[in-house]
Amino acid sequence: MMRKSIVLILTLVVAFTLAACGKNNTESGGAGASSDSPSPGSSAESSAPASGEALSGTILAAGSTALQPLVEAVAAKFMDDEKYKDISVQVQGGGSGGGLTQVQAGQVDIGNSDIFAEEKFKDADADKAKELVDHQVAVVAMATVVNPQTGVDNLTKQQLNDIFSGKVTNWKDVGGADQKIVIVHRTASSGTRKTFENFALGGPSQDLPGSIQDDSSGNVKKMVAETPGAIGYLALSYLDDTVKAVKYEGVEANVDNVASGKYPVWAYEHMYTKGEPSPVVKAFLDYMLSPEAEKDVIDGGYIPTSQMKVVRDVNGNVTNK
């Protein structure tokens, strides 16, 4: 205990010294007062206005790195909006797990996640997921991608299963060139991998010796593009000419097919709050779904939830809207 407090005191001393050092140009404006707090998590609730006055406060969102660019782009627009100019939004990465942990612990206001909280909080932690409120802000679809030289342009669910279970190890067995298959998988904890396994393969897959793993879409794209015979999966937003997106059961991975429910490999992007959001946070979450934000959603390669003609629940059951 003693040690902890010594470290703490020293930290404080240092922090104050720093604050003092840089104070030569201080503007003592009243506007900054509410956002001065170093702990944005608590400040968001602190300044809810009574009537229709401008909202002010700080919002801290953290989590999924896949969702981060979108939230950042929308947050920038949100803060430029005259109505919300006193609200400051900070977006951090740290991964879906980190985001959910932090929002559950009350350290951040919004936890960004690629998958349902129920899938992460399991067994003993299952109750924790119940405290979180889900806000689905976009849909992200994934395409199976292969190195352009493999010579395939369609794979069935069965073929994908054969490839990812190691039953088929050469592209010629699934109608491609005579080339060894190199699997580029995601790490076991990845949300992208879960989505791919659940909706493309239909169940968990094994890691195979010799497969490559990474958790970042950028690396996966690079690996698939450069490694002969490689197969992987990427969000639609990452697709370009360097990799070839193959059809799934004859259905092309594109926005229309996802929206109509024909192409099944997609997932929601979630922004979780602990309990119902405060007015400030709610304003931002509403903005995420507004027509203003929709352009960013589409530009970012996501699909706005408003375009979806189907909905899917936690257990993966798809129903028409």
Binding site: T26, S35, Q68, Q92, G93, S216
Partner: protein, 295 residues
Amino acid sequence: MKARAADRVATGVIIGMASLIMLVLVGLIAYLLFRGLSHISWHFLTSPPQSIKAGGGIGPQLFNSLYLLILTMLITIPLGIGAGIYMSQYAKANQLTAFIRLVVEVLSSFPSIVIGLFGLLVFVNLFHMKYSLAAGALALTVFNLPLMVRVTEQALNGVPREQKEAGLALGLSRWKTISSIMLPMAFPAILTGTILAAGRVFGEAAALLFTAGMTTPRLDFGNWNPLDSHSPLNPFRPAETLAVHIWKINSEGRAPDAPEIAAGASAVLIIVVLLFNFGARWLGRAIYRKFTATK
């Protein structure tokens, strides 16, 4: 004659291997500069990054790296010099000193990712600093402190004994002798060591992933109030440094020009490291010359 031939061959091999090392270094730097330099422009160095569109820069990241370096050094230098003074002047040759020496050695060999995780646990979570510059600076302090201690200790040990004895003979206290005679003498060595350590801090990424975070809020460079959350000087805001940025765009880069940005940022990083290296060398030599000429 056989021995002579073997000698010649061996010498050739040794020279060959030494040249190969030079070749690798030159190749490495040439490659980085070749790939990156064409992308570096004033715009690139000053504008904020773009997450989805092309044309983003590394302005905030560069600022964060420098600012974090300053913060870290502000904490590290006084602590490191204090501990270095102890190690070189006050430590008695006993078990305790041996133990402290072990501590410094262990601390300096901890993998940076372990220090990053410790920072996550203690600074970020326990002290509620969140992902912030302050947490990053403290983690980097842990990482840098042993180096600083060693630099100070060696520099003080390098001060001639006579100088110290002269001070003590004048009736100065030990502390006074250390602070006003020995430290100034040791200053060039400490400075050189510090700059080299700074280069290491500048390029560190693994310890920062979990402490300073991987994002930078929008910064208002007209606002220099260190307590305002938009101010670049606020030590409690998250900050992505240049090294972390390189790691992030290599892995999650969505911008179409991500490879060029990675190359450009790497080139900037390497240039800064080169500057630190040559700067330290040059400064050390210049100060040494000045000191030896005047004294």
